[in-house]
């Protein structure tokens, strides 16, 4: 599962030789993230975010397990137990703020990782499986993040849970019984809180398992790179260790500085004040807003305000609520189809002039959706969100396939080596015109 010039693990110490014969775990690590994994030499800093996402997952699991030692998943005392962590547990405030802001950091990193994939065409053959597993991880992380936000049992926890589980109520026929079965009641209460806690504890380990598959699938074709040109020769790659461990180490430092600025100096900046009010089923907050990382999808949900009905009749085919829920799920599910929607043989946006423009429109579109989703459901935010939502679907399902058919890509470098050095002497001399076998 690697290039022929990949270095081989040769244990020197007697103990490591003994271990390698019985359980080749060090060999696995060596081949996965050590010197045994040849990586394109031209990766830029956008390639740091995979490792950072892995770091965030570990961070969330470690802080989360400690929080679970002190948290009580019971609707009558959940809020108080969270405050107990903040006040009476030694360094509890640090663990809790680290976990709260760790979720935001995780999503920020995932979004950058995702958009790096969009720009550089990381979803294209032969890396479709890496991409599919990545989108799966994103969905699982969304579910975990949502359920985690419910646990402190503040006002936004409760009403957020009510709104999100209300989506199931929009499903025709089985919706309402399904919603009640999922919640264990008519509204979120102790039953719902308990199962959310149980799943919030379980899902990170499921994510960790899918992350292992994600990395495994990545190691078969090897990492992509900013040119999108596949590795041809040994001169195109460097061993992961020490080159990318060093680069990731620096990236991790920068990430930790930004993360700690939030944890220590503005821990509540990304949260909503209402979540410091205990959950109250009979007092609806002035506005119900999810966490910032869900804002774009919340804007899409709210954009569909009109029933789909047969014109000039009252016969409704899809009610607006269901349409919004469908659109919201579709807005992420559509990513699964990226490898087949974008048929351009060129991977990297660097060499795709038309695609590149629409990519940046998509970035702005998502920011606009996020802005609208975080605002109250009033004008002009809803209308702005509707325009942005329309573009979102047209971008992925209409524009992208058309662009990939009609675009004339710019000329690609012959190899990664040429892209780095400006010229590939071996290629020029004709010594290496066929890819290494």
């Amino acid at each position: 599962m690697s290039f022929p010039w990949a270095r081989h693990y040769e244990p020197k110490a007697p103990f490591m030789r003994w271990l390698d014969e019985k359980l080749p775990l060090p060999r696995l690590v060596y081949n996965a993230i050590g010197a045994g994994y040849p990586v394109p030499r031209n990766l830029n800093y956008w390639w740091n975010f995979g490792v950072l996402a892995g770091f965030c997952l570990v961070l969330q699991i470690v802080t989360g397990v400690i929080l679970a030692m002190h948290y009580a998943a019971n609707a009558t005392i959940a809020f108080d137990s969270t405050e107990h962590i903040m006040r009476d547990v030694n360094w509890g405030w640090l663990i809790r703020y680290a976990h709260m802001n760790g979720a935001s950091a995780f999503f920020a990193v995932l979004y950058i990782h995702l958009f790096r994939g969009f720009f550089y065409g990381s979803y294209k053959a032969p890396r479709e499986m890496v991409w599919l597993l990545g989108v799966t991880i994103f969905l699982l992380t969304m579910a975990t993040g949502f359920m985690g936000y419910v646990l402190p049992w503040g006002q936004m926890s409760f009403w957020g849970a009510k709104v999100i589980t209300g989506f199931f109520g929009a499903i025709p026929l089985v919706g309402e019984p399904l919603q009640m079965w999922l919640l264990g009641g008519y509204a979120p209460d102790n039953a719902a809180l308990n199962r959310f806690f149980s799943l919030h504890f379980l899902l990170p380990f499921v994510i960790a398992a899918v992350v292992i598959l994600h990395i495994w699938a990545l190691h078969i074709p090897g990492s992509s790179n900013p040119t999108g040109v596949e590795v041809k020769d040994e001169s195109d790659t460097v061993p992961f260790h020490p080159y990318y461990t060093a680069k990731d180490g620096f990236g991790l430092g920068v990430f930790l500085i930004i993360y700690c600025l939030f944890v220590f100096f503005m821990p509540n900046a990304l949260g909503h004040a209402d979540n410091y009010i205990p959950a109250n089923p009979i007092a609806t907050p002035a506005e119900i807003v999810p966490e910032w990382y869900f804002w774009p999808y919340y804007a899409i949900l709210r954009a569909f305000t009109v029933d789909f009905h047969i014109p000039f009749t009252e016969f409704i085919i899809i009610p607006a609520k269901l349409l919004g829920v469908m659109a919201m799920f579709l807005s992420i599910l559509v990513w699964f189809f990226m490898p087949w929607l974008d048929r351009s043989p060129v991977r990297s946006g660097h060499y795709r002039p038309t695609f590149r423009k629409y990519f940046w429109v998509l970035v702005i579109d998502l920011l606009v959706l996020g802005y609208c989703g975080g605002k109250p459901a009033e004008e002009p935010y809803v209308m702005l969100g509707q325009l942005a939502a329309a573009y979102y679907f047209l971008h992925f399902l209409v524009i992208l396939p058309l662009v990939s058919s009609f675009e004339r890509p710019e000329s690609l470098p012959f190899s990664i080596t040429e892209a780095v050095l400006g010229s590939d002497k071996k290629a020029v001399l004709g010594e290496n015109t066929s890819p290494a076998t």
């Binding site: 680069k247 600025l261 579709l330 047209l394 396939p401």
Partner: protein
């Protein structure tokens, strides 16, 4: 096939969103939403500066006097209606009270207990490990005494409201008679009997009567002039402390952590630079050696 199905699905959702936009725009143009008194006359909190502000902010010994004055205001005024559920008497040592003083303060409150002889519910003097007692036995009693509104718990109030301490300070000092402009623009708007007009409150009508009504309402022991404004500032400061007793520690720990990370990151950058510099040189030489691979 994926592309053909996707094309129509994309068109469908795109068109539906645009259609909804069109109908929204038409509604906006034909019947724009009417303004409400709250949307026009609601005011943002006034400015309030406290020692805890900013990234270097913390409660030092010089601030204990203010926090203790704020506690006195809470104890003598606010605690009649507002609970302080998450704060225990023992916590007061953090704002400069000695153990003996805390014991005396706790003993001054009657907390629910159990009579050791009969097992019946009773009231006993508090001890430092007790939490501040609630002013009302339950929500029904709280509603009955307060025009059907439950006075919120104050432990977290500065974190639970946008504007934080500034909001608390503005609200307490913001009671006023309704400006005639309100009536002029919104003849239907009224402050029902039992409610009080306050432009810093979201819907302008607040069930809480003005808590601080006259200068000198609380007699400060440290000689500070107890104006309404001063009392409001002090209690807002106290409530910042109750909302997050760990705030000072958080800021104080944060700086060394940042310093360490900055140092480590610079080292990591230099290490990265050195490792890649060696490689670049070798790389350029190796690639320019034409027959290398064949010879191997």
């Amino acid at each position: 096939m994926v592309r053909i199905i996707g094309f129509f699905v994309g068109l469908f959702f795109g068109v539906m969103a645009l259609w909804a936009f069109g109908i929204g725009l038409y509604t906006q143009l034909t019947s724009p939403p009417e303004k409400t008194a709250a949307s026009v006359f609601h005011r943002q909190p006034r400015e309030l500066h406290l020692s805890s502000d900013g990234w270097f902010g913390h409660w030092g010994e010089k601030d204990y006097a203010q926090l203790q004055r704020g506690f006195q205001v809470y104890k003598e005024v606010c605690s009649a209606c507002h609970s302080l559920n998450h704060v225990a008497f023992r916590d007061l040592t953090e704002i400069g009270y000695s153990d003996a003083e805390v014991k005396a303060i706790a003993a001054g409150f009657m907390v629910p207990g159990i009579d050791p002889d009969t097992g019946e519910s009773t009231l006993r003097p508090g001890t430092p490990t007790d939490y501040f007692p609630k002013p009302f036995a339950n929500d029904v009693a709280a509603r009955a005494a307060n025009h059907n509104a439950i006075p919120p718990d104050l432990s977290l109030i500065t974190k639970a409201r946008d504007g934080g301490a500034a909001y608390v300070y503005s609200l307490i000092t913001g009671f006023q008679s309704m400006s005639p402009d309100v009536k002029k623009e919104f003849p239907d708007f009224d402050t029902p009997p039992g409610l009080y007009y306050n432009p810093y409150f979201a819907n302008l009508n607040l069930a809480m009567p003005p808590p601080l009504t006259s200068n000198g309402q609380v007699q400060y022991k440290d000689g500070t002039n107890p104006t309404v404004d001063q009392m409001a500032r002090d209690v807002a400061a106290f409530l910042v402390w109750t909302a997050e007793p760990s705030l000072s520690k958080r800021h104080q720990v944060g700086w060394p952590v940042l310093g360490f990370l900055l140092f480590a990151t610079i080292l990591a950058y230099l290490a990265k630079k050195q490792i890649w510099a060696e490689n670049k040189q070798e790389f350029a030489e190796e690639v320019r050696r034409p027959a290398r691979r064949k010879a191997a």
